[in-house]
Protein backbone atom coordinates (compact mmCIF):
# COMPACT_ATOMS: atom_id res chain seq x y z
CA UNK A 1 0.00 0.00 0.00
CA UNK A 2 1.38 3.39 -0.89
CA UNK A 3 1.92 6.12 1.65
CA UNK A 4 -0.86 8.12 0.16
CA UNK A 5 -3.36 5.38 0.60
CA UNK A 6 -2.26 4.96 4.19
CA UNK A 7 -2.73 8.64 4.79
CA UNK A 8 -6.14 8.50 3.25
CA UNK A 9 -7.09 5.49 5.37
CA UNK A 10 -5.98 7.08 8.59
CA UNK A 11 -7.82 10.29 7.87
CA UNK A 12 -10.97 8.38 7.03
CA UNK A 13 -10.95 6.25 10.12
CA UNK A 14 -10.00 9.15 12.39
CA UNK A 15 -6.71 9.54 14.15
CA UNK A 16 -7.87 8.02 17.45
CA UNK A 17 -9.27 4.80 16.14
CA UNK A 18 -6.77 2.02 15.66
CA UNK A 19 -7.60 -0.30 12.81
CA UNK A 20 -6.28 -3.83 12.87
CA UNK A 21 -4.29 -4.87 9.77
CA UNK A 22 -6.84 -7.55 8.96
CA UNK A 23 -9.64 -5.06 9.18
CA UNK A 24 -7.68 -2.61 7.10
CA UNK A 25 -7.22 -5.24 4.43
CA UNK A 26 -10.93 -5.90 4.57
CA UNK A 27 -11.61 -2.22 4.12
CA UNK A 28 -9.25 -2.04 1.16
CA UNK A 29 -11.18 -4.77 -0.51
CA UNK A 30 -14.46 -3.14 0.29
CA UNK A 31 -16.46 -1.71 -2.56
CA UNK A 32 -16.24 1.83 -1.23
CA UNK A 33 -12.52 2.27 -1.83
CA UNK A 34 -12.07 3.92 -5.19
CA UNK A 35 -8.92 4.61 -7.20
CA UNK A 36 -10.44 7.28 -9.37
CA UNK A 37 -12.95 9.94 -8.49
CA UNK A 38 -14.12 11.89 -11.48
CA UNK A 39 -16.27 14.96 -10.99
CA UNK A 40 -18.00 17.05 -13.64
CA UNK A 41 -15.51 16.17 -16.33
CA UNK A 42 -16.04 18.02 -19.60
CA UNK A 43 -13.73 17.50 -22.52
CA UNK A 44 -13.40 19.25 -25.87
CA UNK A 45 -11.51 18.42 -29.05
CA UNK A 46 -11.08 21.97 -30.32
CA UNK A 47 -14.64 23.25 -30.34
CA UNK A 48 -16.28 19.80 -30.35
CA UNK A 49 -17.39 18.73 -26.93
CA UNK A 50 -16.77 15.01 -26.50
CA UNK A 51 -17.61 14.50 -22.81
CA UNK A 52 -20.35 16.18 -20.75
CA UNK A 53 -20.29 16.47 -16.96
CA UNK A 54 -19.04 12.96 -16.26
CA UNK A 55 -18.98 12.06 -12.57
CA UNK A 56 -17.93 8.56 -11.73
CA UNK A 57 -15.96 6.62 -9.15
CA UNK A 58 -13.83 3.69 -10.13
CA UNK A 59 -13.47 1.07 -7.40
CA UNK A 60 -10.24 -0.61 -6.45
CA UNK A 61 -9.51 -4.21 -7.40
CA UNK A 62 -12.56 -4.49 -9.54
CA UNK A 63 -13.17 -4.61 -13.24
CA UNK A 64 -15.10 -1.60 -14.48
CA UNK A 65 -16.43 -1.87 -17.99
CA UNK A 66 -17.36 1.07 -20.18
CA UNK A 67 -19.79 0.32 -22.96
CA UNK A 68 -21.57 2.40 -25.55
CA UNK A 69 -21.87 2.87 -29.30
CA UNK A 70 -19.00 4.12 -31.47
CA UNK A 71 -18.20 7.79 -30.92
CA UNK A 72 -19.89 7.95 -27.51
CA UNK A 73 -16.69 9.11 -25.81
CA UNK A 74 -15.82 5.92 -23.98
CA UNK A 75 -12.23 5.76 -25.28
CA UNK A 76 -11.82 9.49 -24.74
CA UNK A 77 -12.95 9.09 -21.15
CA UNK A 78 -10.53 6.19 -20.60
CA UNK A 79 -7.62 8.15 -22.04
CA UNK A 80 -8.52 11.16 -19.90
CA UNK A 81 -7.78 9.03 -16.83
CA UNK A 82 -4.05 8.79 -17.61
CA UNK A 83 -3.98 11.99 -19.65
CA UNK A 84 -3.17 10.09 -22.84
CA UNK A 85 -5.95 12.12 -24.40
CA UNK A 86 -3.52 15.04 -24.44
CA UNK A 87 -1.68 13.38 -27.32
CA UNK A 88 -4.26 15.28 -29.37
CA UNK A 89 -2.98 18.86 -29.09
CA UNK A 90 -6.36 20.64 -29.22
CA UNK A 91 -7.82 18.91 -26.16
CA UNK A 92 -9.25 21.00 -23.32
CA UNK A 93 -10.82 19.71 -20.13
CA UNK A 94 -12.70 21.04 -17.15
CA UNK A 95 -13.73 19.36 -13.93
CA UNK A 96 -11.59 17.21 -11.70
CA UNK A 97 -10.13 13.74 -11.91
CA UNK A 98 -8.67 12.49 -8.66
CA UNK A 99 -6.37 9.50 -8.62
CA UNK A 100 -6.02 8.27 -5.04
CA UNK A 101 -7.19 11.71 -3.87
CA UNK A 102 -4.65 13.59 -5.96
CA UNK A 103 -5.88 15.88 -8.67
CA UNK A 104 -4.19 14.59 -11.81
CA UNK A 105 -4.08 18.01 -13.44
CA UNK A 106 -2.22 19.67 -10.58
CA UNK A 107 1.41 20.29 -11.39
CA UNK A 108 2.76 18.38 -8.43
CA UNK A 109 1.58 15.14 -10.00
CA UNK A 110 3.63 14.81 -13.19
CA UNK A 111 2.06 13.09 -16.11
CA UNK A 112 4.96 10.60 -16.12
CA UNK A 113 4.16 9.59 -12.53
CA UNK A 114 0.47 9.24 -13.33
CA UNK A 115 1.15 7.02 -16.32
CA UNK A 116 3.54 4.90 -14.30
CA UNK A 117 0.79 4.16 -11.79
CA UNK A 118 -2.00 4.01 -14.36
CA UNK A 119 -0.88 1.72 -17.16
CA UNK A 120 -2.55 1.23 -20.48
CA UNK A 121 -3.25 -1.53 -22.98
CA UNK A 122 -4.25 -0.34 -26.42
CA UNK A 123 -6.80 -1.40 -28.97
CA UNK A 124 -4.30 -2.64 -31.52
CA UNK A 125 -1.39 -4.69 -30.15
CA UNK A 126 1.49 -2.21 -30.33
CA UNK A 127 4.73 -3.95 -29.37
CA UNK A 128 8.01 -2.19 -30.12
CA UNK A 129 10.02 -3.66 -32.99
CA UNK A 130 12.31 -5.25 -30.41
CA UNK A 131 12.65 -8.64 -28.79
CA UNK A 132 10.00 -9.93 -26.39
CA UNK A 133 12.47 -9.40 -23.56
CA UNK A 134 13.27 -5.82 -24.53
CA UNK A 135 9.58 -5.05 -24.89
CA UNK A 136 8.78 -6.15 -21.37
CA UNK A 137 11.97 -4.65 -19.94
CA UNK A 138 11.24 -1.30 -21.62
CA UNK A 139 9.24 0.17 -18.75
CA UNK A 140 11.64 -0.86 -15.97
CA UNK A 141 14.57 0.46 -18.02
CA UNK A 142 12.79 3.77 -18.55
CA UNK A 143 12.46 3.95 -14.79
CA UNK A 144 16.17 3.43 -14.35
CA UNK A 145 16.60 -0.28 -13.68
CA UNK A 146 19.79 -1.44 -15.37
CA UNK A 147 20.84 -4.64 -13.60
CA UNK A 148 20.28 -7.64 -15.80
CA UNK A 149 19.37 -9.95 -12.92
CA UNK A 150 16.60 -7.64 -11.71
CA UNK A 151 15.32 -7.12 -15.24
CA UNK A 152 15.30 -10.90 -15.77
CA UNK A 153 13.13 -11.29 -12.69
CA UNK A 154 10.71 -8.55 -13.73
CA UNK A 155 10.38 -9.92 -17.26
CA UNK A 156 9.68 -13.43 -16.02
CA UNK A 157 7.17 -12.28 -13.42
CA UNK A 158 5.36 -9.97 -15.83
CA UNK A 159 5.11 -12.59 -18.53
CA UNK A 160 3.85 -15.08 -15.95
CA UNK A 161 1.26 -12.60 -14.71
CA UNK A 162 0.17 -12.06 -18.29
CA UNK A 163 -0.18 -15.85 -18.65
CA UNK A 164 2.18 -16.06 -21.58
CA UNK A 165 5.44 -17.17 -19.93
CA UNK A 166 5.01 -20.84 -20.81
CA UNK A 167 4.42 -20.02 -24.46
CA UNK A 168 7.31 -17.62 -24.78
CA UNK A 169 9.97 -18.57 -22.25
CA UNK A 170 12.14 -20.05 -25.02
CA UNK A 171 11.43 -17.24 -27.45
CA UNK A 172 12.39 -14.20 -25.37
CA UNK A 173 14.92 -13.03 -27.94
CA UNK A 174 12.55 -13.25 -30.86
CA UNK A 175 11.20 -10.04 -32.32
CA UNK A 176 7.74 -9.38 -30.88
CA UNK A 177 6.49 -8.75 -34.42
CA UNK A 178 6.88 -12.43 -35.22
CA UNK A 179 4.26 -13.38 -32.61
CA UNK A 180 0.57 -13.86 -33.30
CA UNK A 181 -1.81 -10.98 -32.62
CA UNK A 182 -3.09 -12.57 -29.43
CA UNK A 183 0.42 -13.21 -28.16
CA UNK A 184 1.45 -9.67 -29.04
CA UNK A 185 -1.45 -8.28 -27.03
CA UNK A 186 -0.54 -10.38 -24.00
CA UNK A 187 3.09 -9.25 -24.34
CA UNK A 188 1.75 -5.69 -24.35
CA UNK A 189 -0.17 -6.50 -21.15
CA UNK A 190 3.00 -7.97 -19.64
CA UNK A 191 4.83 -4.82 -20.70
CA UNK A 192 2.24 -2.70 -18.89
CA UNK A 193 2.48 -4.92 -15.78
CA UNK A 194 6.27 -4.66 -15.69
CA UNK A 195 6.00 -1.03 -14.54
CA UNK A 196 3.97 -2.23 -11.52
CA UNK A 197 0.96 0.03 -11.97
CA UNK A 198 -2.08 0.25 -9.67
CA UNK A 199 -4.60 0.63 -12.42
CA UNK A 200 -4.68 -0.82 -15.90
CA UNK A 201 -6.73 0.93 -18.56
CA UNK A 202 -7.70 -1.29 -21.44
CA UNK A 203 -9.02 0.25 -24.63
CA UNK A 204 -10.94 -2.47 -26.47
CA UNK A 205 -8.03 -4.85 -25.95
CA UNK A 206 -9.62 -7.76 -27.76
CA UNK A 207 -11.17 -6.02 -30.74
CA UNK A 208 -8.28 -7.04 -33.02
CA UNK A 209 -8.08 -10.61 -31.69
CA UNK A 210 -9.61 -13.94 -32.65
CA UNK A 211 -12.12 -15.62 -30.27
CA UNK A 212 -9.58 -17.92 -28.61
CA UNK A 213 -7.11 -15.13 -27.94
CA UNK A 214 -10.02 -13.03 -26.71
CA UNK A 215 -10.97 -15.74 -24.24
CA UNK A 216 -7.40 -15.87 -22.97
CA UNK A 217 -7.29 -12.13 -22.43
CA UNK A 218 -10.67 -12.23 -20.66
CA UNK A 219 -9.47 -14.96 -18.31
CA UNK A 220 -6.36 -12.91 -17.72
CA UNK A 221 -8.42 -9.87 -16.75
CA UNK A 222 -10.22 -11.95 -14.13
CA UNK A 223 -6.87 -13.00 -12.74
CA UNK A 224 -5.37 -9.51 -12.82
CA UNK A 225 -8.12 -7.86 -10.81
CA UNK A 226 -6.80 -9.53 -7.67
CA UNK A 227 -3.80 -7.23 -7.85
CA UNK A 228 -4.91 -4.36 -10.05
CA UNK A 229 -7.89 -2.15 -10.65
CA UNK A 230 -9.00 -2.50 -14.22
CA UNK A 231 -11.02 -0.19 -16.44
CA UNK A 232 -11.92 -1.76 -19.75
CA UNK A 233 -13.60 -0.13 -22.72
CA UNK A 234 -15.43 -2.57 -24.91
CA UNK A 235 -18.05 -2.44 -27.62
CA UNK A 236 -18.80 -6.08 -26.93
CA UNK A 237 -21.62 -6.16 -24.39
CA UNK A 238 -21.28 -9.88 -23.75
CA UNK A 239 -17.70 -9.27 -22.84
CA UNK A 240 -18.66 -6.53 -20.40
CA UNK A 241 -21.26 -8.82 -18.87
CA UNK A 242 -18.80 -11.70 -18.59
CA UNK A 243 -15.82 -10.01 -17.04
CA UNK A 244 -16.82 -6.82 -15.25
CA UNK A 245 -18.07 -6.02 -11.76
CA UNK A 246 -19.43 -2.61 -12.67
CA UNK A 247 -20.54 -1.25 -15.97
CA UNK A 248 -20.92 2.31 -17.20
CA UNK A 249 -23.03 3.09 -20.24
CA UNK A 250 -21.97 6.12 -22.30
CA UNK A 251 -24.04 7.77 -25.00
CA UNK A 252 -23.15 10.91 -26.97
CA UNK A 253 -20.53 11.95 -24.45
CA UNK A 254 -22.75 11.53 -21.42
CA UNK A 255 -22.68 8.93 -18.70
CA UNK A 256 -26.19 7.53 -18.86
CA UNK A 257 -26.02 4.82 -16.27
CA UNK A 258 -23.38 3.35 -14.01
CA UNK A 259 -24.20 0.36 -11.87
CA UNK A 260 -23.33 -3.14 -10.77
CA UNK A 261 -22.91 -5.17 -13.96
CA UNK A 262 -25.65 -7.67 -13.11
CA UNK A 263 -28.07 -4.88 -12.31
CA UNK A 264 -27.25 -2.87 -15.41
CA UNK A 265 -27.74 -5.79 -17.73
CA UNK A 266 -30.76 -7.33 -16.05
CA UNK A 267 -32.62 -4.36 -14.70
CA UNK A 268 -31.38 -1.05 -16.09
CA UNK A 269 -32.89 2.17 -14.77
CA UNK A 270 -32.66 4.14 -17.95
CA UNK A 271 -34.70 3.41 -21.05
CA UNK A 272 -31.70 4.23 -23.30
CA UNK A 273 -29.53 1.68 -21.49
CA UNK A 274 -32.20 -0.92 -21.97
CA UNK A 275 -32.53 -0.09 -25.66
CA UNK A 276 -28.80 -0.36 -26.12
CA UNK A 277 -28.24 -3.62 -24.29
CA UNK A 278 -31.21 -5.26 -25.95
CA UNK A 279 -29.74 -4.31 -29.29
CA UNK A 280 -32.31 -1.76 -30.37
CA UNK A 281 -29.52 0.58 -31.48
CA UNK A 282 -25.74 0.83 -31.48
Amino acid sequence: MSKLQEKRKSSESGSNIKVSPARQQEMNKGPMKSVFEVENLNLWYGSNQALYEISMQIPQNQVTAIIGPSGCGKSTYLKALNRMVEMVPSVKTSGTIKYNDQNIYKDKLTVEYLRTKVGMVFQKPNPFPKSVYDNVAYGPRVHGIKKRAILDQIVEKSLKDAAIWDELKDRLNENAYSLSGGQQQRVCIARALAVEPDVILMDEPTSALDPISTLKVEELVQELKKKYSIVIVTHNMQQAARISDNTAFFLNGELIEYADTNKLFQNPDDKRTEDYITGRFG
Partner: protein
Protein backbone atom coordinates in the same frame (compact mmCIF):
# COMPACT_ATOMS: atom_id res chain seq x y z
CA UNK B 1 -25.78 -2.36 -68.44
CA UNK B 2 -25.80 1.29 -69.60
CA UNK B 3 -25.77 0.36 -73.27
CA UNK B 4 -28.22 -2.20 -74.57
CA UNK B 5 -26.68 -2.51 -78.03
CA UNK B 6 -23.64 -4.80 -77.87
CA UNK B 7 -21.96 -3.19 -80.90
CA UNK B 8 -22.12 0.33 -79.43
CA UNK B 9 -20.83 -0.89 -76.12
CA UNK B 10 -17.85 -2.56 -77.80
CA UNK B 11 -17.08 0.72 -79.59
CA UNK B 12 -17.18 2.68 -76.36
CA UNK B 13 -14.93 0.19 -74.63
CA UNK B 14 -12.52 0.30 -77.59
CA UNK B 15 -12.24 4.07 -77.26
CA UNK B 16 -11.25 3.79 -73.63
CA UNK B 17 -8.78 1.01 -74.34
CA UNK B 18 -7.13 3.10 -77.09
CA UNK B 19 -6.96 6.16 -74.87
CA UNK B 20 -5.24 4.03 -72.24
CA UNK B 21 -2.70 2.81 -74.78
CA UNK B 22 -2.11 6.36 -75.98
CA UNK B 23 -1.42 7.60 -72.48
CA UNK B 24 0.94 4.73 -71.83
CA UNK B 25 2.99 5.65 -74.90
CA UNK B 26 3.03 9.30 -73.86
CA UNK B 27 4.34 8.50 -70.39
CA UNK B 28 6.90 6.07 -71.80
CA UNK B 29 8.10 8.81 -74.15
CA UNK B 30 8.53 11.22 -71.26
CA UNK B 31 10.56 8.65 -69.36
CA UNK B 32 12.74 8.00 -72.41
CA UNK B 33 13.63 11.69 -72.78
CA UNK B 34 15.34 11.58 -69.41
CA UNK B 35 16.99 8.25 -70.05
CA UNK B 36 18.32 9.24 -73.49
CA UNK B 37 19.79 12.49 -72.18
CA UNK B 38 21.45 10.58 -69.38
CA UNK B 39 22.84 8.02 -71.84
CA UNK B 40 24.24 10.79 -74.06
CA UNK B 41 25.84 12.40 -71.05
CA UNK B 42 27.45 9.16 -70.04
CA UNK B 43 28.62 8.53 -73.58
CA UNK B 44 30.21 11.97 -73.92
CA UNK B 45 31.86 11.88 -70.52
CA UNK B 46 33.12 8.34 -70.91
CA UNK B 47 34.53 8.78 -74.43
CA UNK B 48 36.28 11.98 -73.43
CA UNK B 49 37.47 11.05 -70.01
CA UNK B 50 37.95 7.32 -69.87
CA UNK B 51 41.17 7.43 -71.88
CA UNK B 52 42.71 9.81 -69.40
CA UNK B 53 41.39 8.10 -66.28
CA UNK B 54 44.00 6.15 -64.35
CA UNK B 55 45.11 5.56 -60.82
CA UNK B 56 47.78 8.14 -61.47
CA UNK B 57 45.12 10.71 -62.33
CA UNK B 58 43.28 10.04 -59.09
CA UNK B 59 46.36 10.26 -56.90
CA UNK B 60 48.09 13.23 -58.57
CA UNK B 61 48.00 16.83 -57.46
CA UNK B 62 47.02 19.52 -59.98
CA UNK B 63 49.75 20.53 -62.36
CA UNK B 64 50.26 23.21 -65.01
CA UNK B 65 50.80 20.50 -67.62
CA UNK B 66 47.87 18.32 -68.48
CA UNK B 67 49.92 15.11 -68.61
CA UNK B 68 50.64 15.33 -64.90
CA UNK B 69 47.39 16.87 -63.67
CA UNK B 70 45.30 14.85 -61.21
CA UNK B 71 42.25 15.22 -59.02
CA UNK B 72 43.78 14.17 -55.69
CA UNK B 73 43.59 17.68 -54.16
CA UNK B 74 39.96 18.06 -55.22
CA UNK B 75 39.04 14.60 -53.97
CA UNK B 76 40.62 15.10 -50.57
CA UNK B 77 39.19 18.63 -50.38
CA UNK B 78 35.71 17.31 -51.13
CA UNK B 79 36.04 14.59 -48.51
CA UNK B 80 37.11 17.17 -45.90
CA UNK B 81 34.18 19.34 -46.90
CA UNK B 82 31.74 16.45 -46.62
CA UNK B 83 32.99 15.57 -43.15
CA UNK B 84 32.44 19.14 -41.94
CA UNK B 85 29.09 19.36 -43.72
CA UNK B 86 27.89 16.00 -42.37
CA UNK B 87 28.83 16.71 -38.76
CA UNK B 88 27.36 20.23 -38.68
CA UNK B 89 24.24 19.62 -40.73
CA UNK B 90 23.26 16.29 -39.17
CA UNK B 91 23.56 17.57 -35.61
CA UNK B 92 21.70 20.83 -36.26
CA UNK B 93 19.27 19.33 -38.78
CA UNK B 94 18.14 16.36 -36.72
CA UNK B 95 17.86 18.50 -33.59
CA UNK B 96 15.73 21.01 -35.49
CA UNK B 97 13.44 18.33 -36.87
CA UNK B 98 13.06 16.79 -33.40
CA UNK B 99 12.05 20.14 -31.98
CA UNK B 100 9.60 20.88 -34.78
CA UNK B 101 8.01 17.44 -34.82
CA UNK B 102 8.08 16.41 -31.17
CA UNK B 103 8.37 19.47 -28.95
CA UNK B 104 7.10 22.56 -30.76
CA UNK B 105 3.49 23.51 -30.01
CA UNK B 106 1.25 22.94 -32.99
CA UNK B 107 0.31 26.54 -33.70
CA UNK B 108 0.52 29.19 -36.41
CA UNK B 109 4.09 30.23 -35.62
CA UNK B 110 5.32 26.65 -35.81
CA UNK B 111 3.49 26.22 -39.11
CA UNK B 112 5.15 29.33 -40.52
CA UNK B 113 8.56 28.02 -39.46
CA UNK B 114 7.85 24.65 -41.07
CA UNK B 115 6.76 26.18 -44.37
CA UNK B 116 9.76 28.52 -44.43
CA UNK B 117 12.19 25.67 -43.93
CA UNK B 118 10.64 23.93 -46.91
CA UNK B 119 11.07 27.14 -48.89
CA UNK B 120 14.71 27.41 -47.82
CA UNK B 121 15.33 24.04 -49.47
CA UNK B 122 14.48 25.70 -52.78
CA UNK B 123 16.71 28.80 -52.42
CA UNK B 124 19.42 28.88 -55.14
CA UNK B 125 22.80 27.70 -53.91
CA UNK B 126 24.52 30.91 -54.99
CA UNK B 127 22.49 32.78 -52.38
CA UNK B 128 23.96 30.50 -49.72
CA UNK B 129 27.35 31.30 -51.20
CA UNK B 130 26.75 35.02 -50.61
CA UNK B 131 25.50 34.28 -47.11
CA UNK B 132 28.63 32.27 -46.39
CA UNK B 133 30.81 35.06 -47.79
CA UNK B 134 29.15 37.67 -45.58
CA UNK B 135 29.06 35.66 -42.37
CA UNK B 136 31.80 33.07 -42.34
CA UNK B 137 34.44 34.64 -44.58
CA UNK B 138 34.15 38.27 -43.44
CA UNK B 139 32.09 38.62 -40.27
CA UNK B 140 33.68 35.68 -38.44
CA UNK B 141 36.96 36.40 -40.26
CA UNK B 142 37.53 32.79 -41.23
CA UNK B 143 38.75 33.87 -44.66
CA UNK B 144 38.81 31.73 -47.80
CA UNK B 145 39.41 28.57 -45.81
CA UNK B 146 38.06 25.04 -45.61
CA UNK B 147 35.91 25.76 -42.55
CA UNK B 148 34.09 28.63 -44.28
CA UNK B 149 33.32 26.42 -47.28
CA UNK B 150 32.16 23.54 -45.09
CA UNK B 151 29.86 25.71 -42.98
CA UNK B 152 28.37 27.33 -46.08
CA UNK B 153 27.63 23.95 -47.62
CA UNK B 154 26.19 22.77 -44.31
CA UNK B 155 23.73 25.69 -44.38
CA UNK B 156 22.88 24.82 -47.97
CA UNK B 157 21.74 21.28 -47.22
CA UNK B 158 20.41 21.93 -43.71
CA UNK B 159 16.82 22.51 -44.93
CA UNK B 160 16.90 19.29 -46.96
CA UNK B 161 18.02 17.32 -43.92
CA UNK B 162 15.42 18.97 -41.69
CA UNK B 163 12.60 18.19 -44.12
CA UNK B 164 13.77 14.59 -44.67
CA UNK B 165 14.16 14.01 -40.92
CA UNK B 166 10.74 15.49 -40.22
CA UNK B 167 9.20 13.09 -42.70
CA UNK B 168 11.08 10.16 -41.20
CA UNK B 169 9.95 11.11 -37.68
CA UNK B 170 6.37 11.54 -38.84
CA UNK B 171 6.37 8.05 -40.36
CA UNK B 172 6.95 6.42 -36.97
CA UNK B 173 3.54 5.04 -35.98
CA UNK B 174 1.83 6.92 -33.18
CA UNK B 175 0.86 3.64 -31.51
CA UNK B 176 4.41 2.76 -30.51
CA UNK B 177 5.07 6.26 -29.19
CA UNK B 178 1.85 6.02 -27.18
CA UNK B 179 2.99 2.68 -25.78
CA UNK B 180 6.11 4.38 -24.48
CA UNK B 181 4.31 7.42 -23.05
CA UNK B 182 1.77 5.05 -21.53
CA UNK B 183 4.47 3.55 -19.32
CA UNK B 184 5.50 6.89 -17.92
CA UNK B 185 8.42 7.55 -20.26
CA UNK B 186 9.28 11.20 -20.84
CA UNK B 187 9.33 12.71 -24.29
CA UNK B 188 13.09 12.52 -24.48
CA UNK B 189 13.16 8.87 -23.36
CA UNK B 190 10.57 8.06 -25.99
CA UNK B 191 12.56 9.88 -28.66
CA UNK B 192 15.85 8.26 -27.70
CA UNK B 193 14.52 4.72 -27.31
CA UNK B 194 11.66 4.45 -29.78
CA UNK B 195 11.19 7.33 -32.21
CA UNK B 196 14.76 8.08 -33.27
CA UNK B 197 15.84 4.43 -33.78
CA UNK B 198 12.74 3.85 -35.89
CA UNK B 199 13.29 7.03 -37.91
CA UNK B 200 17.04 6.58 -38.31
CA UNK B 201 16.99 4.78 -41.70
CA UNK B 202 14.86 7.58 -43.18
CA UNK B 203 17.08 10.25 -41.66
CA UNK B 204 20.24 8.56 -42.96
CA UNK B 205 18.82 8.16 -46.44
CA UNK B 206 17.80 11.82 -46.58
CA UNK B 207 21.18 12.89 -45.25
CA UNK B 208 23.18 10.91 -47.76
CA UNK B 209 21.10 12.25 -50.63
CA UNK B 210 21.58 15.78 -49.30
CA UNK B 211 25.33 15.19 -49.02
CA UNK B 212 25.49 13.96 -52.58
CA UNK B 213 23.87 17.21 -53.62
CA UNK B 214 26.49 19.14 -51.67
CA UNK B 215 29.42 17.23 -53.14
CA UNK B 216 28.45 18.33 -56.64
CA UNK B 217 27.82 22.00 -55.78
CA UNK B 218 30.12 24.52 -57.39
CA UNK B 219 28.56 27.97 -57.20
CA UNK B 220 28.70 28.63 -53.45
CA UNK B 221 32.26 27.34 -53.26
CA UNK B 222 33.44 29.74 -55.92
CA UNK B 223 32.00 32.60 -53.89
CA UNK B 224 33.43 31.54 -50.54
CA UNK B 225 36.78 31.16 -52.19
CA UNK B 226 37.76 27.58 -52.89
CA UNK B 227 41.09 27.79 -54.67
CA UNK B 228 41.21 27.16 -58.40
CA UNK B 229 44.46 25.29 -58.13
CA UNK B 230 46.38 24.29 -55.05
CA UNK B 231 49.45 22.15 -54.89
CA UNK B 232 49.17 21.00 -51.28
CA UNK B 233 46.53 19.00 -49.48
CA UNK B 234 44.48 20.62 -46.71
CA UNK B 235 45.78 19.62 -43.29
CA UNK B 236 43.50 21.56 -40.96
CA UNK B 237 40.11 23.27 -40.87
CA UNK B 238 41.83 26.54 -41.72
CA UNK B 239 43.75 25.31 -44.76
CA UNK B 240 43.26 26.55 -48.26
CA UNK B 241 41.33 23.98 -50.23
CA UNK B 242 39.72 23.05 -53.47
CA UNK B 243 36.93 20.62 -54.33
CA UNK B 244 36.23 18.29 -57.22
CA UNK B 245 33.60 20.39 -59.00
CA UNK B 246 35.78 23.51 -58.71
CA UNK B 247 38.72 21.62 -60.11
CA UNK B 248 36.66 20.32 -63.02
CA UNK B 249 35.18 23.74 -63.71
CA UNK B 250 38.66 25.17 -63.74
CA UNK B 251 39.91 22.56 -66.22
CA UNK B 252 37.04 23.05 -68.63
CA UNK B 253 37.75 26.79 -68.67
CA UNK B 254 41.23 26.30 -70.12
CA UNK B 255 41.76 26.86 -73.85
CA UNK B 256 43.75 23.75 -74.89
CA UNK B 257 41.69 20.78 -76.06
CA UNK B 258 43.57 18.30 -73.90
CA UNK B 259 42.23 19.83 -70.73
CA UNK B 260 38.73 18.79 -71.77
CA UNK B 261 39.83 15.16 -71.46
CA UNK B 262 41.25 15.85 -68.03
CA UNK B 263 37.93 17.42 -67.06
CA UNK B 264 36.09 14.38 -68.45
CA UNK B 265 38.15 12.09 -66.27
CA UNK B 266 37.39 14.31 -63.27
CA UNK B 267 33.68 14.12 -63.97
CA UNK B 268 33.89 10.32 -64.04
CA UNK B 269 35.47 10.31 -60.58
CA UNK B 270 32.81 12.72 -59.28
CA UNK B 271 29.98 10.64 -60.78
CA UNK B 272 31.45 7.45 -59.36
CA UNK B 273 31.49 8.96 -55.88
CA UNK B 274 27.92 10.23 -56.28
CA UNK B 275 26.83 6.80 -57.41
CA UNK B 276 28.50 5.14 -54.44
CA UNK B 277 26.83 7.56 -52.01
CA UNK B 278 23.38 7.04 -53.54
CA UNK B 279 23.85 3.26 -53.52
CA UNK B 280 24.63 3.43 -49.81
CA UNK B 281 21.42 5.42 -49.31
CA UNK B 282 19.40 2.77 -51.14
CA UNK B 283 21.06 -0.04 -49.20
CA UNK B 284 20.37 1.65 -45.88
CA UNK B 285 16.74 2.18 -46.84
CA UNK B 286 16.20 -1.40 -47.98
CA UNK B 287 17.93 -2.91 -44.99
CA UNK B 288 15.63 -1.23 -42.49
CA UNK B 289 12.49 -0.81 -44.55
CA UNK B 290 10.36 -3.56 -43.02
CA UNK B 291 10.52 -2.49 -39.42
CA UNK B 292 6.90 -1.43 -39.17
Amino acid sequence: MFEKNAGNLQKKVNNRVWLNKGMRTLFLGATLVGLIVLALLFYRVLTQGLGYLSLDFITSLPSPSFEDAGIWAGLIGSIWLMVIVAVVSIIIGVATSLYLEEYAPKNKIADIIRINIQNLAGVPSIVYGLLGLTFFVYMFSIGYRLLAGGLTMALLILPIIVVASQEALRSVPNEVKEASYGMGATKWQTIARVTLPAALPGILTGTIIALSRAIGETAPLIIVGAAAAIYTLPDSLLSKYTAMPIQIYNWTARPQDEWQYVAGAGIIVLLAILLIMNSIAVLVRNKFQKRF
